[in-house]
């Protein structure tokens, strides 16, 4: 800044706060590595033999991510990366702990694979920061990404590569690699919705009728929301994936509301959701079973074995938990993926589980803060969409396994075993940090050509 520059009025020059991020990251790594060591001590009384390379590897990955942020998005939010690194580390420790039980029963080990996926996730994180130097460029790919999302959603339904696992047809398998395209579709949909709504929001916002004090949209503007609704129902019917269906539709409705600022859309969306939910309750046996398993899981502890075992695990953990490695979380099916939250609740107790939920809450609120501060509409919508998709996903899966709402299968971001989910979530955080960097970066100043005859200062932004 030169002395002759015009100060941008009262704007405070934001600090980069990378030191803060590093400090928080060290704390987060202490939690993750500490949990890993505690697993070994709790399970067999020894520090795990592989702690050096696992901890070393994980710490290196986290530091790589930190350095990438320093170089590529120095003004980004300093809290997000430590939060998700902590979740990732805690997830790794828990999956490792479950492995110990599975190894006793001679089954596959998940922790090593999850470590590899963490590596790929961090690569994706760095790649997004490199490839997307300015999030606004993504807007030109709006319809490409929309199309990609549809293709990704349809992929698992195709023969040969599509696979049905545990009743849901959401997997594709090419050779040894299994993948859930729906996870990638999530990030594509956020960008697509944002790009689409930025353009259409005036039309969707202005015309309408007032009814009971709420501005309702015009019938002819209902097209997009009905399309999103039908696609969501399609996911539910053809892929039997309740969670993703709910997530996609909820995401669209929320972004529509943010774009138009009209509660009417949220009302219409909620009504459509309730209608669709009631319809599927009546029509599909698996939806009805989920509702019964939610209302009264103990009516048939065999049929609702999973949710009942999850609840037993939580109850067994109680206030302070059994301690890592000392509970029986593998009694619950899918203790390492959908039900990892009850596994953590069992061994870390109510205190640990509350801390984890609060961490998710912080991630979401930091994400919304990025949206709030962002200056361009597209960036606002993308950031809000990413934050809300995280909120919805955590609410649906944690609420589901703790019996707040009916159980729907979704992965728990950063904690669950599963490559697709982990990689996509790292990419999503990278995108949030990219927008955050743009938001907090000091504005380039335009120095007047000649201060003497400056009748008009043109600010480019």
């Amino acid at each position: 800044m030169t002395a002759g520059a015009v100060e941008p009025s009262t704007d405070v020059v934001p600090r980069k706060r990378r030191g803060t991020e590093l400090f928080l990251l060290v704390l987060a790594l202490l939690v993750g590595v500490g949990a890993y060591v505690a697993v070994g001590i709790g399970y067999s009384g020894d520090v795990p033999a592989d702690v050096a390379w696992v901890a070393g590897g994980f710490v290196t990955l986290a530091l790589v991510a930190h350095v990438a942020v320093r170089l590529l998005a120095p003004y980004a939010d300093p809290v997000l990366l430590p939060l998700v690194a902590m979740l990732n580390g805690l997830g790794l420790a828990m999956i490792r702990r479950l492995d110990l039980d599975f190894a006793a029963a001679d089954q596959t080990t998940f922790a090593t694979q999850q470590m590899v996926w963490t590596l790929i996730g961090v690569i994706a994180f760095v790649a997004v920061l490199v490839v997307v130097p300015d999030h606004r460029r993504l807007q030109s790919f709006t319809y490409t990404l929309g199309l990609l999302a549809i293709v990704l959603l349809v992929l698992p339904l195709l023969p040969v590569i599509g696979q049905e696992i545990n009743g849901s047809r959401i997997w594709i398998r090419i050779g040894p690699l299994g993948f859930q395209p729906g996870e990638v579709a999530k990030i594509c949909l956020v960008v697509f919705f944002a790009g689409y709504l930025v353009v259409k929001r005036d039309a969707l916002a202005l015309a309408g009728r007032r009814f009971l004090g709420i501005d309702l949209p015009r019938g002819r503007d209902l097209g997009p929301i009905l399309t999103a609704w039908l696609v969501s129902l399609g996911v539910l019917v053809f892929q039997r994936d309740l969670g993703s269906s709910l997530l996609f539709f909820g995401l669209f409705v929320v972004m529509l509301y943010v774009a138009t600022e009209r509660v009417g859309w949220a009302v219409v969306g909620t009504l459509l959701f309730l209608g669709g939910a009631y319809f599927s309750y009546l029509t599909f046996g698996h939806v009805e079973a989920r509702v019964t398993g939610w209302l009264d899981p103990f009516s048939d502890t065999d049929a609702y074995y999973q949710i009942v075992q999850g609840l037993y695990g939580l109850g067994f953990g109680g206030l302070i938990g059994t301690g890592l490695g000392q509970g029986d979380p593998t009694l619950t099916p899918f203790s390492y993926s959908d039900f990892i939250v009850t596994s953590l609740g069992e061994e870390l107790g109510l205190t640990g589980l509350m801390a984890i939920i609060v961490v998710y809450g912080l991630v979401v609120e930091r994400g919304l803060r990025v949206a709030l501060l962002c200056r361009d509409a597209f960036g606002k919508l993308v950031a809000a969409g990413l934050a809300v998709s995280m909120a919805l996903q955590v609410f649906v899966v944690v609420g589901g396994v703790t019996r707040l709402i009916p159980l729907t299968g979704l992965t728990t971001p950063f904690l669950s075993y599963g490559g697709s989910s982990l990689v996509v979530n790292w990419a999503m955080v990278a995108l949030l940090l990219r927008i955050s960097h743009f938001t907090r970066e000091p504005q380039p100043l335009v120095t007047p050509l000649d201060a003497g005859d400056a009748t008009q200062v043109v600010r480019l932004r």
Partner: protein
């Protein structure tokens, strides 16, 4: 677009708050309900691995947990299974816990509120929680004498013995035959446990049934003590009151007669009638008193109550609700629908012995924390005043007469005055009669009251009698206590 984002921030906040409140509900408020549910394997596994406290008899374990190097850290063991199986019960993985292992589970497993401080200390010291121990009132010599006595009657004998300390209600012996081995159900070899259970369910004589308290039997002539108590308490009779004797009592309203099994003179005192066990005399006394007086007297001894013993399950002994006259006469001699547990008949003897006061029976004497700190010491409680002290003294004299000059001579102990009553309860032509014997000694300062019940001895039908079969068992139990 900022307003909707702020709204969203609030909505997301509410969603996360709901998640937090819900996990508080599940893990804090609902936790104990979840943990108490049947089939919750986490709780079963954890309890099964825990070091359970021992059940002690005179300082030696009747049940104990020993370290085990399989999936579960401790194996429950019963060092004297045949002697104490009906008291300890078993602690199994798949079939739950039975008897004391079940009713005293909170102390034995360490979850009792009285052990709260121990649990906190264990938690802070990162030690595995362990259970407290209980000490029983059982006198091992009396228990062994009772078991030996029953076993001597044959391999497939069925029966029970109960011995009480009259002044406190402490159970000194409680034996049931046939027996089973709880070790076979408690084994960590679940396959073997399953097999053992199937065998047990089909075993002859139903060993899972504790005959001392879980089933009732016609008490026969031992019930005449109750009838005599009612007679003396009514004020219309004294021990030397002359009552009708002779061979036959003509029952009203029917052509049936009540006959004597023993030779009774045509007119006898109440004392002699008891000594010789004259059915005719007591039938007539019963008719004169009426069924209400008999029922009231029986209930004063504990009949009709199914919960006087806190530590173990039991059934109530019965006196018929509304018998017709002939049945009143039969009831007065312990036949018809009169039905009692051996525990109840021991309480009749103990009540007479304890100046007419029936003490509440109990089995757990002391409760200790895992650090052998005394948590509870049982205080004896009165159950009922069954008869006045004066009537009790008269009854004692009459029961001493039964031993010295009557049917209970088999229980005579040199140098000790014994009070007793025999019983031989007819069932049917095909089934062997029950042999009963109730007694207490020494008569002037009773230390022990006993009831012996034999259901299926390995002897010819005509040799079955309370005095002949059950008397010697009662005698050896009393001797083992008096020493």
């Amino acid at each position: 677009m900022n307003r909707p984002i702020r709204v969203l921030a609030v909505v997301c906040g509410v969603m996360f708050l709901a998640l937090l409140l819900n996990v508080n509900y599940v893990q804090f408020l609902q936790a104990s309900e979840l943990n108490a549910r049947d089939g919750n394997r986490r709780v079963i596994d954890e309890e099964f691995s825990r070091e359970r406290g021992p059940i002690l008899v005179a300082g030696r374990p009747a049940a104990q947990s020993v370290p085990s190097d399989d999936d579960y850290d401790f194996q429950r063991e019963y060092p004297s299974p045949r002697l104490y199986f009906n008291l300890t019960g078993y602690y199994s993985y798949e079939f739950g816990a039975e008897d004391l292992e079940n009713t005293q589970n909170s102390i034995l497993s360490g979850s009792d509120p009285r052990l709260f401080v121990n649990r906190v200390v264990d938690l802070l010291g990162s030690r595995q929680p362990s259970g407290g121990s209980i000490a029983l009132t059982i006198d091992p010599a009396a228990q062994q004498a009772a078991l030996n006595g029953l076993s001597a009657l044959g391999d497939d004998v069925q029966g029970a013995v109960v011995a009480l300390e009259p002044s406190t209600g402490a159970i000194l012996a409680m034996v049931s035959r046939p027996s089973y081995d709880p070790n076979r159900l408690a084994t960590h070899d679940l396959q073997a446990a399953r097999k053992a259970r199937l065998q047990l369910l089909e075993a002859p004589g139903d060993p899972l049934l504790d005959r001392s308290r879980e089933n009732t039997y016609a008490p026969g002539s031992t019930f005449k003590v109750v009838t005599a108590a009612a007679a003396l308490s009514s004020g219309q009779y004294a021990p030397d009151t002359l009552v009708k004797g002779g061979p036959v009592l003509d029952l009203p309203q029917t052509t049936d007669d009540l006959t004597n099994d023993t030779d009774c003179p045509s007119q006898v005192t109440l004392t002699t009638a008891l000594a010789l066990s004259c059915n005719v005399s007591f039938g007539e006394v019963g008719l004169a008193l009426g069924d209400d007086a008999l029922r009231e007297q029986a209930e004063a001894f504990g009949f009709g109550d199914d919960s006087y013993l806190d530590e173990l399950s039991q059934v109530a002994s019965r006196f018929p609700e509304d018998p017709a006259d002939p049945q009143v006469a039969q009831s007065a001699i312990g036949q018809f629908d009169v039905s009692a547990t051996p525990l109840q008949m021991a309480m009749v003897a103990a009540g007479v012995a304890n100046d007419g006061t029936v003490m509440k029976p109990y089995l757990v004497d002391k409760v200790y924390s895992p650090d052998i700190e005394l948590l509870d010491d049982h205080d004896p409680e009165e159950l009922h005043q069954a008869v006045s002290s004066g009537v009790a003294t008269q009854l004692t004299q009459m029961m001493v007469e039964v031993v010295t000059n009557g049917t209970a001579s088999s229980a005579q102990i040199p140098g000790v005055e014994v009070a007793a009553k025999t019983g031989t309860a007819e069932r049917s032509e095909e089934l062997a009669p029950y042999a009963w014997f109730i007694s207490f000694a020494p008569a002037d300062d009773p230390e022990v009251a006993v009831a012996v019940f034999v259901e299926n001895p390995n002897v010819p039908r005509e040799q079955i009698s309370g005095g002949g079969l059950a008397g010697p068992i009662a005698k050896s139990v009393m001797e083992s206590v008096i020493g």
